[in-house]
Structures are given as C-alpha cells and as structure tokens.
C-alpha cells in the first residue's frame, strides 16, 4: 500500500515537468489554425512561461513564422528553418507565412510581455511591461510582483507598477484595487483614465476613490492638452512659414507675384522623391536621403526659378498683375508636366526612422517626431535666409537693388543678375519647403495648390518685405487656427482666420510689420 502511494507520488513528480512541456507542445499546433484558435494558443503559450515559446511567438509577431501545407510550423533560423516542436532543422518547402489579425496581434503583445518581462534586455522589459499593461489580466499580478522585486531601472519600474496596477484593478482583491487606483491616478495618462472609467462602472463601492484619481488625471491632462495644442499650432505655423518664406523673398523683396510658387514647392517634394529613389540601392546612404534631398530640392527649384525669371518674368517688371496671370499659366504647365513625367498618382516618400513616431517632452507632452523636425527645419531655413540677406555679398547687392535700382546699377551692381539670383533664391527656398511637406502631405502634382493662398495671406498679414513679419504671421495663424479648431471645426476655423486677416489688412494695409520710409511708398 505504502509502496503504491510512493509509486503514485513518484509518477506524479515525474509527470509534472512532462505536463509543463505538454502545455507548450499541445498549444503549439494551434498557432497554425484559424484566427481565434491561434489567439487562444498564443495566450496559452504566454501563460506557460516556457522559454521555448519565446522565439516562436517573436517570429510570429514579426511575420516570419511559416507553416507548411500540412500545417506544421517552421521558424526561420540562419539560412534554414527549424521545427519549433522538436528544435531540429526541418524542411519548409511550400510553406507560407502565418497570417495575423488584430486579435492575434493583441494576444501576441500580451504573451510576449509575459515571456519577456524577465528578459535581460532593458528595452525588451520595457516593451513587455507595456504589453502586459495593455493586456490587463489579473493573472499577471504574481508575475509582475516578481519582476518588480528584481527591477532596478526607474523607467521600467514605473511602467511595471502601472502594469501591476492595471492588473490589480481587474482582480478580486480589494486592497490591491485601492492601491491600484491611487497609482493610476498619479500616472496622468489617457490610458490610465480609460482604465479608471471602466473600473468605476465595475466597482461602484470605490467610486469616490476613483473620482479623486480621475480628477487628478484630468488636471494633468488639461495642462498637457494646452501644451499639445500649442505644439500643433507651432507645427502648422512652421509649415506655413516654410511655404511662405520663399514668397516673402520673391513677393516681399522683389514685388513679383508668383502664382507658380506652389509648384516650386511641389518640385522640391518630387526632388525628395527622386533623391530617395536614387539612394534606395545604396543601403548606407538610404537613411541620409532626406538631408541630401534638401540641397537637391533647393537647386532644382532654384534652377527652375532662374529660368522662369530670365525667360519670362524679366519682361514683365513693373506689371505685377500681368506677372500674376502669366505665372498662373506657368503653374498649369508645371503641374501637367510633372503629371506627365511621374504620373498622376501619389509618389511614396518614406520617413527615416528618426522622423517616425512620438517623442516625449518633459511633463509627458507627446509630440510627433516629424513635426518636431519640421519646426526645427523651418527655423533653420529662416536663419539661413536672414544670414544670406544680412551677411553675404549677394544679400548686400540684393538690398541695394531693392532700395534704389539706378544707384545700385551705377555702383557697378549687375542688377539683372541680382534679380535672377534673388528669384532663384526665393524659388529654392520653396523647393526646400517641399522637402518638409513631402513628410506630411501627398507627393502629387496638386501638392502646391493647397498652400499658395495660405502663403500669400501669411506674407500680406505679416507685412510685405519683412521676414520677422512672415515668422510672426505664420506662427500666429498656425496657433490661432489650432486653438479655434476644436470649437469651430477644421473648416470654420480656417474661414474665421481668413476673414480675420481680411479685416486686419483693411485696418493695417501694410501688415503687422509695416516697412517705413521711402521703400514703403513704391
């Protein structure tokens, strides 16, 4: 009898590791099944805490996991494939990628979180904590507590605490819930708020505690929202600034109305596309294609501008209205030319990795990387323009010609050449704006049309001939637009801004920063 019991116990002990292995091997084939079957299998594998599951799930999440026509799984390794069930190299003839849907992806994120939370790699642990935070299951509490006990990096600790709180909130233990509510209240994020709002419905007895936490979050969010609106306004403003700077030179300094200005912006965007295509074949160059595109776009648009000035506009000086109409025709031709060469479809311009995603500023203010860089770029271009006008020989000659053409000519300045250079310079700046716009808008033949009126408004509002006016004008319009938008809607906000500018101009016909003195009278 005792022997029997001992024998049974022994069997049980022996069976335990075997059962743990079973969880892996039994769940594994499910991955090759339908979406709901696969999601269930992923969840089981995540809960199994089996280290062998990690490479399989990782391959699956990255879209590398293959399945043979017979339904056997294959994980790519080196040049070949291995069978995850045995760990042995295996043949993957006729295999195709295991497909995912959002449900499977969600399960994968949770499972990878469970498996990687004790990973030696800090980045993986952070991602894991985030994954567990989003999967919110009470079953993760012990796992997270164990991980927290070992964790030393503060940033990961914080994320783990939040994940723990999220898991506790859906658990049964009242004490855990209370601490979770307090912890989430101090997090100050929309995700935490969403969790609390849901918990409020499920736990009416804790409503007061939750309300306190929610109020704290609201306060943080309100400040953050204001900061983000300001950023959005500055971002829109920087786009307007870029689009208008070239115009500020050609219109503001030379008095030439160039309706084809938008098309020069478009040329810049297409130059970006071409540079990127050229760099595509050279792997080490590819991430730098965007910086390379800046001079290329400048040169292309400047060359087009120089040709336009020398060939056509030169003959119409002193007749701004005719110039306006003629350049409208030039714009039509340029648009159709680009359409004929590149096709009417959008062209793909990719963003380098350093311009993708969101960046956290201090205070938890989330800003998108591409917009951040466009603001930086806008300021850089503005400084460049100011420097070129103030400190270069060309800038000096340009100012001289603007102030008094005849005296400048008698001083030996070749005014015709200066005109061409100035116009080319302004056009080149428009081309650089195209590089920035290719990162947020369509690269299509119609790209420029959407910016031309806004650009004119910025220049006129800011004060023709004043770069500072252009800067202030662009940023003001951007911010006002974004502040109005949530109340009035995107369209009405824009209409209001346009009407306001029209009224403003009739109060101050020369704009915000009016030029004084003789130049203003011409």
């Amino acid at each position: 009898m005792e022997k029997l019991i001992a024998g049974l116990l022994l069997l049980l002990v022996l069976a335990l590791p075997a059962r743990a292995q079973d969880a892996f091997t039994t769940a594994l084939p499910g991955l090759a099944g339908g979406f709901s079957e696969a999601a269930a299998a992923v969840e089981q594998l995540g809960a199994s805490a089996d280290p062998r599951a990690l490479p399989v799930l990782r391959a699956m999440a990255e879209g590398r996991l293959q399945k043979t026509p017979e339904g056997a799984l294959r994980v790519p390794q080196g040049d070949g494939f291995v069978d995850p069930a045995t760990g042995q190299p295996a043949d993957a003839a006729g295999a195709e990628t295991v497909r995912l849907n959002n449900r499977v992806r969600q399960a994968l994120r949770g499972a990878l979180g469970q498996l990687q939370i004790i990973s030696p790699d800090a980045g993986e642990r952070l991602a894991a904590a985030e994954g567990v935070f989003r999967s919110r299951s009470a079953a993760n509490v012990p796992l997270l507590e164990a991980a927290l006990a070992k964790e030393t990096v503060p940033r990961i600790r914080e994320q783990m605490e939040l994940a723990l709180a999220a898991s506790q909130l859906v658990g049964t233990e009242a004490e855990g819930k209370r601490s979770a509510i307090a912890r989430l209240g101090s997090a100050g994020t929309t995700e935490a708020r969403a969790l609390l709002i849901e918990a409020r419905i499920a736990n009416p007895d804790m409503a007061t505690a939750i309300d306190v936490s929610l109020a704290a979050i609201e306060q943080t969010l309100a400040i953050r929202r204001a900061a983000e609106t300001l950023f959005q306004g500055l971002s829109l403003g920087s786009v307007l600034l870029l689009a208008a700077l070239g115009l500020a030179v050609t219109f503001g300094v030379m008095g030439v109305i160039n309706m084809a200005h938008g098309e020069f912006v478009m040329l810049g965007a297409y130059a970006t596309f071409m540079v990127q295509e050229a760099c595509r074949g050279i792997p080490w160059l590819a991430p730098w294609s965007l910086p390379l595109a800046v001079p290329a776009a400048f040169l292309l648009a400047a060359a087009a501008g120089a040709i336009l000035e020398r060939g056509l506009i030169r003959h119409l000086y002193g007749r701004p209205l005719e110039t306006l109409l003629m350049t409208f025709g030039v714009g039509m031709i340029l648009q159709q030319a680009v359409r004929s060469i590149f096709g009417a479809q959008n062209r793909e311009v990719t963003s380098p990795a350093w311009m993708q995603g969101t960046m956290m500023l201090p205070g938890g203010i989330a800003v998108t990387q591409n917009r951040m860089w466009i603001i930086v770029f806008g300021i850089a271009v503005l400084l460049l323009v100011i420097a070129a006008i103030r400190y270069t020989r060309f800038g000096l000659e340009m100012r001289a010609v603007v102030q008094n053409r005849r005296i400048a000519a008698t001083m030996g300045i070749r005014t015709g050449r200066v005109d061409a250079l100035t116009f080319a310079f302004g056009s080149g700046i428009a081309g650089m704006a195209g590089v920035a716009l290719s990162q947020i808008d369509n690269v299509s033949p119609n790209l420029g049309t959407g910016y031309i009126i806004d650009s004119f408004m910025v220049v006129v509002f800011g004060g023709v001939g004043s770069l500072a006016g252009t800067l202030v004008g662009a940023l003001t319009l951007g911010v006002v637009n974004k502040v109005l938008e949530p109340y009035a809607g995107a369209v009405l906000a824009k209409v209001f801004v346009l009407v306001a500018i029209m009224l403003f101009i009739q109060r101050r016909p020369r704009g915000l920063f009016a030029l004084k003195g003789r130049a203003a009278e011409s």
């Binding site: 979406f35 709901s36 879209g63 497909r99 995912l100 849907n101 959002n102 449900r103 992806r105 969600q106 994120r109 989003r134 929309t190 995700e191 708020r193 969403a194 969790l195 709002i197 849901e198 419905i201 929202r225 609106t229 959005q232 971002s235 829109l236 786009v239 648009q335 159709q336 359409r339 096709g343 009417a344 479809q345 959008n346 062209r347 793909e348 990719t350 963003s351 993708q356 995603g357 969101t358 989330a366 998108t368 990387q369 591409n370 917009r371 990162q439 947020i440 808008d441 369509n442 690269v443 299509s444 119609n446 959407g450 974004k482 938008e485 949530p486 809607g489 995107a490 369209v491 824009k494």
Partner: protein, 414 residues
C-alpha cells in the same frame, strides 16, 4: 466667335480622330462596319486625376482586350477620351458632347458623386448609358446608369459588424471620421442608425468632418485618442476621401495609434492610395472593399496580368474601382452580344441578370436595381502596401441602394 461655333462639327470630327490616335492599334478585319464608340469620362487633370487616370487606363485596356477577342458583335471598339478636368459643370458638358457629338454607345466614367449627379440629367435626357464604377452612398437609381461599385450595405455595415465582433476587437465606441461630402455623410447616417440598433449610445459615437485635401490631422487624431481614452474599446471608421488619406495615415502612425488598440477601417483607401505611404506603421488597420489585389484565384490572376501587361509595369497595383470597371465592361460586352445590338434600349434589359465570375473570386450578378451583387471583404493593411483578406461574406451580397436605416426611404417616390 461665330466661326468657333459653326466650325464646331469639324472640330468634333477632329476630336474623334484624336481619340483614334490614342488607340492606334486597329485590326484590319474590322474594316467594313462602323466601330462601336466607348466614351471615357474620367478626370485627367485637377484634384481627381490622382484616382481617375487609372480608370481611364482600365477602360482603354478593356477596349484593347475586346478588340483582341474579335470586338463586340464583330465590330471594332473605339474609345473616345475626354478630360472633364475635375470640374463638375464640365462633366455635364463633356457628357453631352460624348452623347450628342460623338454618339458613343456606352460611357464609362465619373468617380465622385457630384460628377455623377452632374451628368445624370444629361444621360437621362439623351438616353445614354453610363457605367459608374465607384462605391457610393446609394439613394439613387437611374434607368441610364449602371452602378458597379458597392452600395452602403455591401461595404459599410459588414465592416462595422466585423469591428464589433470578437475577431474585430469587440469595439464599443466608434469614431466616424470623414471628408465633408455626401458619401461620408450618408454612410455615417446609415451607420448611426445601425449602431443604434446594436445598442450603442450616441455618447459613444464621435463624428467629425474635414474639407477635401485636408492635410493637418494633428488635432483630430489627438481628439480620437482622447475619445478612446474614455474607456471601452474604440475603433475608427474612416470615410476620408482621396488625397487626405496620406497625411491622415502618417499622423495615425506617428501618434502611435496601433491597430491592436484603435483599429481604423477605411472605405475609400485602396492599394492605389497606399502606394503613396510607408505602410509599416499601419499594419493591421483595415479596409473594407469588394475586391483586393491580393485576392487569390484565376479570374484575378488574369485581370492582374492583363493590367500589368497593358500598362507595361509589373509593379502597378489594381484596386476595387478598377475591378468594378472591368466587371462592368465585361458585363456590357456580354449584354451587347445577347441583345445583338449596342442600342441603349436593347442593352439595358439584357444587362439585368448578367453574371460574371469577377476577379474578386465570386460570381457577380447585375440586379434589377442596376447594382451588382458583390461579396464584402475585410482586409488588413500589410507592410508591403497590399491588403489581405481577414474576413469575407460567404456569398455575394445583394445591393440595397435604398438603405433601410434611413427612415425617409420609407416614403420615397418610386
């Protein structure tokens, strides 16, 4: 100015000549009988050129295809291409020109609803025949128009049903984002009615409209994020049109909205639109259509091969409206053969009941309401810009151009 008017007929002949030049390949065997004229009414310039030029090419491809098969009724087909330049009154003028001056037998054209509404009275007055290949809001039926795109019940409602299903993520809150024109307005109205019938409160629906070509999505995407942060699983239903999609998706990707958290299903985004974006951050977002380029099967292989050899570019993508153009064209060929005539009065009845194994992999049928039965496919955007099906209806769904979710349809005049 007088001479302009009186010389116009001669110019019109020149116009036909120009169209013939566009299609120089003429089989000598057709020489005896007059060619059948196929009007092509798609914008080749202006804002809609981005979408419509591919459809012009599809029709030209089909004309070439038909001629290579011996024409229709033994007669050669000849395309008459005009450019309505994304200008709606010009659409009406060009429609009149095609029908009255060039005497086309059939026309393929229009993309936007407003262009269709602009030409509709012209087609009715001059008794022409128009095939309209784009998904639209319904609420219309003309004896002179055949609608080969989807009606709302063949796209919008199944897509939202999917979002609310377990596989789609059990969404309980819906953000309806659209371009401010009639298709999104109607679709969203129908969806509101549908969501209400599923027990979703008005507070859980967000609706926002933007102008055409809207490029600054920062604020709206941030608001969606906030809306999603009020608890309950949230999904976006996008009826954003054309050009505005690229900046919208870029913003979505950059603000880190992942498909696992807030899936976005779009009704106007196809492979052509995705060709302009890096889709890696967008993997898992959804599109609802009646055809994807990735659809397996022989009819689609043939269609894709035909297109890529015609356009001489093995990388050019196909999309849903192109497939609808193709299907409509083949059905018209069948109907003309059946009616033994290309006269509108003969072809129209012959078209009803025409069946075709379409590239979407289902047999489609032209119904008595001038719409097609079509399958509904829900696809996920992939890293390579393709869309793969994750859910589909078992059979082709019959089009309901008068939605039952719009109460006013009950007292509509028939």
């Amino acid at each position: 100015m007088i001479s302009n008017a009186s010389r116009f007929t001669r110019r019109a002949t020149l116009g036909g000549l120009g169209a013939a030049l566009a299609l120089p390949y003429v089989k000598p065997s057709f020489a005896q009988s007059a060619p059948i004229k196929v009007g092509v009414l798609h914008s080749l310039s202006g804002t809609m050129a981005i979408s419509e030029t591919a459809l012009r090419d599809t029709v030209l491809m089909m004309v070439e295809y038909a001629n290579s098969k011996g024409g229709v009724l033994g007669r050669r087909l000849e395309a008459v291409v005009v450019d309505p330049a994304s200008n709606w009154p010009l659409f009406a003028e060009k429609a009149r020109e095609l029908l009255a001056v060039h005497k086309v037998d059939v026309t393929f054209g229009c993309w936007t609803s407003v262009s269709r509404k602009s030409v509709l009275p012209v087609f009715e007055e001059l008794n022409g025949l128009l095939f309209y290949p784009v998904q639209y809001e319904g609420e219309e039926e003309s004896k002179n128009i055949f609608y080969t795109g989807a009606a709302p019940n063949q796209q919008a409602i199944p897509a939202v049903e999917y979002l609310m299903s377990k596989d789609g993520g059990e969404a309980k809150r819906i953000a309806l984002l659209g371009t401010d024109y009639v298709y999104p307005r109607t679709t969203n109205r129908i969806l509101r009615g549908f969501l209400k019938s599923k027990g979703i409160a008005d507070a859980d629906i967000m609706e926002e409209y933007t102008p055409f070509g809207h490029s600054d999505w920062q604020g709206i995407v941030a608001r969606v994020k906030r809306f999603a942060g009020e608890g309950k699983k949230t999904a976006i239903v996008s009826t954003i049109n054309g050009d505005a999609n690229v900046p919208f998706y870029r913003e979505l990707g950059n603000q880190g909205i992942k498909a696992e958290d807030i899936p976005c299903v779009a009704f106007s985004v196809g492979e052509e639109e995705l060709a302009g974006i890096d889709t890696k951050p967008l993997v898992g977002h959804l599109a609802a259509w009646n055809y994807f380029m990735s659809t397996p099967g022989k009819p689609n292989e043939e269609f894709k091969a035909l297109w890529q050899s015609y356009i001489k570019n093995p990388k050019r993508v196909t999309n849903d409206p192109m497939e609808a153009t193709y299907t409509g064209f083949r059905m018209w060929m069948q109907a003309a053969e059946k009616a033994k005539s290309t006269a509108v009065a003969a072809v129209t009845p012959a078209l009803i009941g025409q069946k075709l194994m379409a590239p979407c992999g289902y047999e489609e049928e032209m119904l008595a309401n001038h719409h097609l039965s079509k399958p509904v496919l829900i696809g996920e955007i992939q890293a390579d810009g393709q869309i793969t099906t994750v859910w589909k209806t078992p059979d082709a769904v019959k089009a309901e151009n008068w939605s039952t979710y719009i109460p006013e349809n009950a007292n509509r005049r028939r």
